[in-house]
Subunit: 326 residues, 2 copies
């Protein structure tokens, strides 16, 4: 599989690293909006091109993985690049997935390519677990918790506060809420009862720390609905202790079976990730394999993780899978 990457940030670099772990994959090109001469990638001998020239390479790649953002990049890029390539993206604005799907599907159908959108872990592996668990336990409750992990959006919000030099925010699930769900208590949980937000802030010299803390804790949408803690630390501490991008979370379904619904069941799926972008990249690569196979079988159009049989993700044959993983 000849793979192209569009966008060389954290996710793009994660794709580059992941390709090394898959013998059937080869990185063939990286496309960037920056001046290609300024982009130095990790892999020796792989060309970096301007994304404006991507169409020229349309016969050289089996699949292109789009590593841009969901806000403004992917809504434009995915429907555009599926004209020339099979594509995979990680579009994660949940509310706009149906619209994105329709745009991408129209172009994919027209041009005979396969697109897989909204891949990663949420949407992605978490979605799969919600679907399987809902199909198996039709009567029950769903719970999704995120963390412990770094929220980029909330970290950005902290950094916009006056007097803040730098900062990182962790989303943390409330342990007692997890325990209630795990016990099958089917709690009704408010936003505040599900997650806490922990902030590590580097204040500018002479800044009013009490005011910074107050501003963060009362910020609407981001922090006001949560129990938020703010720790002031030095720039060195932030760099030393908080430069990683960990994340993770939990998906539960609790449900009942039996003639009188007398039996309870708990299905739990969880991820604990040292690197959010590298794990996301690993999921995208497994689905890139599936996308290439589907197109070879003559399929076209837009897909999601729901539409793809699990065997397509693995380099192993059906015989091997049945013998060793079933």
């Amino acid at each position: 599989m000849r793979i192209g990457i569009v966008g060389y940030g954290n996710l793009g670099r994660g794709i580059e690293c992941g390709i090394k772990q898959n013998d059937d994959m080869e990185l063939c090109a990286v496309f960037t909006r920056r001046d290609p001469n300024t982009v130095k990638i990790l892999t020796e001998g792989v060309p970096v091109y301007s994304v404006g020239e991507i169409e020229k390479h349309k016969d050289e790649l089996d699949v292109v993985i789009l590593c841009g953002g969901s806000a403004t990049d992917l809504p434009v890029q995915t429907p555009e690049y599926v004209k020339y390539f099979n594509v995979v993206d990680s579009f994660d604005t949940h509310a706009k997935i149906p619209e994105h799907f329709d745009h991408v599907n129209a172009e994919a159908e027209k041009n005979g390519h396969v697109a897989l959108i909204s891949c990663g872990w949420d949407p992605g592996m978490f979605s799969l677990n919600r679907l399987y668990a809902n199909a198996v336990l039709p009567e029950g409750n769903d719970y999704t918790f995120w963390g412990k992990g770094v929220s980029q959006g909330h970290s950005d919000a902290i950094r916009r506060v006056e007097g803040v030099k730098d900062g990182k925010q962790y989303t943390i699930p409330v342990e007692s809420a997890l325990a209630q769900v795990r016990n099958g208590e089917n709690p009704e949980l408010t936003t505040r009862q599900k997650h806490i937000r922990e902030c590590f802030v580097v204040a500018e010299e002479g800044a009013d720390r009490a005011k910074i803390e107050e501003t963060i804790k009362t910020m609407p949408n981001y922090f006001a609905d949560y129990d938020t803690t703010v720790h002031f630390i030095s720039e060195e501490e932030l760099k030393r202790d908080h430069s990683g991008i960990p994340h993770g979370g939990f998906v539960f379904r609790t449900g009942v079976t039996g003639w009188n619904k007398e039996h309870s069941h708990v299905i739990e799926y969880s991820l604990k990730l040292d690197s959010n972008p590298e794990f996301t990249a690993s999921v995208l690569l497994a689905y890139a394999r599936a996308v290439c196979r589907l197109q070879k079988e003559g399929q076209k159009g837009c897909k999601t993780v729901f539409d793809i049989a699990p065997a397509y993700l693995s380099p192993k044959s059906g015989e091997e899978l049945r013998a060793h993983l079933l």
Copy 2:
């Protein structure tokens, strides 16, 4: 979907209960090896037939769920009944799955039906999680733990010991081993380090309890390789405290990503089930839905959970799934 059940034991009754929770399903017939007049089912107005007459009903059912045992029933029944019906089974002798698959596939292909074999939770939901996690993290380790739950085979083994009137055996994962795996320590675990076995035994009056305990603890294959505890209790206690059929377990994959494999990840899936047969039945029903849809699309042959796109399991449309579960 018109559903037939072959074999009315715990699993068959679980199927019967599960059908009530799915609006698109209807129980149309139960087939038994016993005298049909002696089999009283829970659902009003549904006929019970002798399994010898099953072929007569071949145009009346969309799918038949085979609820026999893996040792002697399913190896014969699944290849036989797929001649007349789409079928789903829970064949769980892992080592013989490839052979069973080939037998069933040959008859399914020849007769234009779809069969799904080895469905349930292990094989089944656990297998799916092993496959997805292996595809996403190509470099890593797999761990499966079972329990806490009742092992039927080990309970039977206890009951065959001289002086034992009745008994139940629980398989229990070792907490410290779970913790090591969850921490990403990648331990090498022996059989003894992964599970303990707890036995509740009703001794016959005057039986030699010390000898019973010794016989159980040293029984090859079943108990000798485990730390086993034996509790003697009264018949009333056994009935009161140990008449359920709970089970469950954990599937882990721990793996690495990054240019220098510097980041670790833990994927964990777990089930906590009040009723093993009812949960298994719920999985079989979701896949029965998929089997009927696949055949309507013109497919035939033997499948496993690896071959079926998740969306086929859900009664919801693709639009609904994308809008609400992705």
